[in-house]
């Protein structure tokens, strides 16, 4: 087999075909864009892309982790906001303290949500919806419905310090976190156990995976990541303001699905999510270059999510693979039906 075919097979088997494809597509579109508008691509564009990755990347990873486990954490966008608020409020003198407080609070809250989901066998969707409201309310209470400024300018500047030509300390931190989590997922049994829980929970339980513990840990961790992202963002913007926006959620879900995470769970890699985030950030940068209005950006992202949702819809997939896998399927049906 030629090395190209070999590489392709390895990439496909890792589920990276979609995200890498998405990045290539976006890059091509971007290049065409610059040809059309006559504006050359500069490192400033690259910087913007990575800033976007830095802002929402961890939010996407947080949601992606819960999706891989077959759940869905709707409280992530609210924890993003609360994390920022907590960090800004408590990190005035020492930014690290602020981050620690935000992450610690998130771990506790996420674990609580996870506990309810695991013990009572409830879907995470309504529970985290309630969590979303609770966290939003807490944010309003803590900020007294006002914007809170962050006065530690050294910290703000530190975060903004450029690294290389296209990164900043902020985006670098986020990339490092991605890398760390990727290493843990790949080199420990946590990654495959998580995918097992999402892929076939009954089989995972029967195999001896401590499903409840994993569910609690996953929801705790997703909250923690969201809080971290929020804290960094709070510092970077030198303040926070409470709002109810759904946009981090739309970005996170689109990036995750682009990154190869399946909605039903069981599939997805950290690298894939990173690629999905990058692809979506390139798209957003392109829209900025085009001077697209906010509403147009919203529509484009919404449309992309619809397309992605339809492509990954089980109804569509079943028809395609039905003919290909009818043998296995019939066998499985026999096994399931003839009890």
């Amino acid at each position: 087999m030629s090395s190209f075919a070999n590489a392709r097979e390895r990439i496909a088997s890792q589920g990276l075909l979609l995200p890498l494809g998405a990045i290539v597509l976006m890059l091509v579109a971007f290049v065409c864009l610059s040809e059309i508008t006559g504006r050359p691509i500069t490192t400033a564009n690259g910087y913007d892309v990575f800033q976007q990755v830095g802002t929402y990347g961890l939010v996407a990873l947080a949601i992606a982790l819960t999706m891989v486990a077959g759940e869905f954490d709707l409280s992530v966008p609210a924890m993003f906001g609360l994390g920022g608020t907590l960090a800004v409020l408590t990190g005035e003198s020492d930014p690290y303290v602020g981050v620690a407080v935000a992450v610690a609070a998130a771990l506790v809250f996420g674990a609580l949500q996870g506990g309810i989901v695991a013990r009572l066998r409830i879907s995470s969707v309504p529970v985290t919806l309630g969590g979303y409201l609770i966290l939003s309310g807490l944010t309003y209470i803590l900020t007294n419905s006002k914007s809170i400024p962050y006065d530690n300018f050294t910290a703000v500047q530190d975060l903004d310090t450029p690294v290389g030509m296209v990164l900043s300390v902020h985006s670098l931190i986020v990339l490092l976190v991605f890398a760390a989590i990727g290493v843990v997922a790949h080199f420990t049994k946590i990654g495959s156990s998580l995918r097992a829980i999402g892929g076939d929970r009954r089989a995972a339980r029967a195999s001896g995976v401590p499903v409840s513990k994993y569910l609690v840990a996953t929801l705790a961790f997703s909250s923690a990541l969201a809080a971290l992202a929020g804290a960094l963002q709070g510092y970077a913007l030198a303040g926070t303001s409470p709002n109810f926006a759904l946009s981090p959620l739309i970005f996170a879900v689109t990036a995750s699905v682009l990154g190869g995470v399946r909605l039903e769970g069981g599939r997805g890699t950290v690298l894939g999510v990173a690629a999905g985030v990058a692809a979506l950030s390139i798209l957003e940068e392109g829209l900025v270059v085009l001077n697209a209005s906010d509403s147009l950006s919203q529509m484009v992202t919404g449309a992309l999510l619809v397309v992605v949702a339809l492509i990954s819809a089980p109804g569509l997939r079943l028809r395609r693979t039905a003919r290909a896998r009818a043998g296995t399927a019939a066998a499985e049906a026999a096994l399931g039906a003839d009890k």
Binding site: R121, I134, G137, T139, I141, L263, S295, G315
Partner: protein, 310 residues
């Protein structure tokens, strides 16, 4: 009558609420009651729509409030053609926008949360673009629009409409073939399929009815503020879902009812107004709402698992 732990908790909550209400000056007065019902009207109508989506087993729609805002804008834009036409346009818009989502969910089994999140973004973006970011106002010569903001027999018309649609929705779900089959679909999708029920069509119908209700909510919204813009969405998305859940609808389908969602909306409105009168902050209200949602979901789940034998 046996009192399960769930029932006990609910009773305790109600008692606590009544005490709080009775000891708050200005709460129990016809003005107070009217204010509660008025603020419940919009959220309640949306909540009834959410309840129907929940009953059909499709979780909930995160775009219902957005399509309500869009309907409100359509209503304003067509008022010059007469109020009946404008109302029809608004409701039709709601039906179409949501039927499309129902098709994606029913025909292709796409994830309803994802589809409705995306639709919300699309609808809001489109609404802003089409209106060029401007606010739509009622034309000078309003045709019968006064009626919608008037009061009949001491009750605001908006409230009458809310109660009327609730009753209609309840009758629809309990007394028509489609409504009853939607309950069956939500209880067991495979059972409905094997029994020959039309799953895809039922899902589209459920979403369409919810869309029609969103259209009505949009009309109420627009006439309340005498204007329409996307920001009308506000917090209605979550409030409606919270109302439906707090009223006792189950997110896993097959049970619950429009009336419960309406009661949940009234309860939320009452709590919100109580908090306002007592001077509690917005944040606390929202947090309390969230807590109630979690409690309601847990209670419904516990009640369900104790009823179902292994």
């Amino acid at each position: 009558m046996k009192l399960s732990p769930a029932g006990f908790a609910v009773t305790l909550g109600l008692v606590g609420f009544c005490i709080l209400a009775l000891t708050t000056p200005g709460f129990i007065s016809s003005d107070g009651a009217r204010a509660i019902l008025l603020s419940a009207a919009v959220v309640g109508t949306l909540a009834v729509g959410q309840a129907i989506v929940m009953i059909s087993g499709n979780l909930f729609s995160l775009s219902l409030a957005s399509s309500a805002a869009a309907s409100g804008m359509a209503f304003m834009a067509s008022l010059r053609l007469g109020i009946e036409v404008a109302a029809a346009v608004a409701i039709a818009a709601g039906v179409l926008l949501n039927a499309a989502q129902g098709a994606a969910v029913g025909l292709w089994r796409a994830n309803p949360i994802i589809v409705t999140i995306a639709a919300a973004g699309l609808i809001e973006g489109a609404a802003i673009s089409l209106s060029h970011g401007k606010v739509l106002y009622a034309p000078r010569a309003e045709h019968g629009q006064d009626f919608l903001t008037s009061v009949v027999g001491g009750i605001p018309v908006a409230v009458i409409i809310f109660l009327a649609v609730t009753i209609c929705a309840q009758l629809y779900m309990r007394r028509t073939r489609t409504g009853r089959e939607i309950y069956l679909l939500g209880d067991s999708r495979e059972g409905a399929r094997a029994g020959g029920l039309a799953e895809a069509a039922l899902t589209v119908k459920a979403f369409s009815v919810a869309g029609a209700l969103a259209g009505v909510a949009g009309i109420l919204l627009a006439t309340e503020t005498q204007s329409a813009q996307v920001s009308l969405v506000g917090t209605n998305t979550y409030d409606a879902i919270a109302a439906a859940l707090i009223g006792g609808n189950a997110v896993f389908g097959g049970r619950g009812s429009p009336v419960r969602a309406a009661i949940g909306a009234v309860a939320i409105a009452a709590i919100t107004d109580l908090a306002l009168v007592r001077g509690y902050s917005t944040g606390l209200q929202i947090a309390v709402k969230g807590t109630l949602v979690v409690l309601a979901v847990v209670i419904v789940r516990l009640a369900d698992s104790s009823a179902k034998t292994a």
